[in-house]
Assembly symmetry: C2
Homo-oligomer: 126 residues x 2
């Protein structure tokens, strides 16, 4: 059985992929793939995602130039999550930050918790 068929997809037919900078270890983003884009990812040089909001195939950097090159792909114990180490050019986040996780929770406890931006913007939002 092909690997893409062995993976466990949710009831929308999707599996999450954690995208990590292969050099720094920084977690850049989490995006989703369906079976077809998993196959495209395995066949190609870049991760290929399925956009849940636009219901279409997308590749990071197609419009922004902030491309990702696949370095290594890992599968978790339950085969329901992927980890992909990439070489990231520029900003992974459409908000212009290196990582989508540019806000940290500060404050004490659930009632006081709030978000603080902890990254520098390195590109224009797109």
């Amino acid at each position: 059985m092909a690997l893409a068929d062995e993976l466990k997809y949710n009831d929308q037919g999707l599996i999450p992929a954690v995208i990590q900078d292969y050099e720094t270890g920084q977690v850049l983003m989490v995006a989703w793939m369906n079976r077809d884009t998993v196959r495209m990812t395995l066949d190609g040089q870049r991760p290929v995602f399925w956009s849940r909001s636009r219901q279409k195939v997308w590749i990071k950097g197609e419009t922004s130039g902030h491309i990702q090159r696949t370095k290594a792909i890992y599968v978790d114990c339950d085969k329901d999550t992927l980890l992909i180490k990439v070489e990231q050019t520029g900003a992974a986040c459409h908000e212009g930050y290196r990582t989508c996780f540019y806000r940290q929770v500060v404050g004490s406890g659930a009632e006081d918790a709030r978000l603080e931006v902890v990254e520098e913007r390195i590109a224009q939002p797109h």
Copy 2:
């Protein structure tokens, strides 16, 4: 509005949390939280998850002793994914590996792709 109420949950009321070793940057696991366990996570010292298979609250290490201590929590641009840096004791994976992502994809292309264990087992599976 409390932070736990600002987050975007999927149609099962869940949000994924990427768990990362705060010292090495290794991605250890991805687990899910509902609004209640997000609140418990923000209020406590350890990440608290919702088990989709067992439909109950769970805390890593309750049975294995391989506990996690929360060091920092980040929220992504869409507010639909969490990143939690933790101090991990022992194995994050119930299979006895430090990380759930202990298998790497090897081979060339989607038809040839297969999994190879690339981590050492450091504990008994549980």
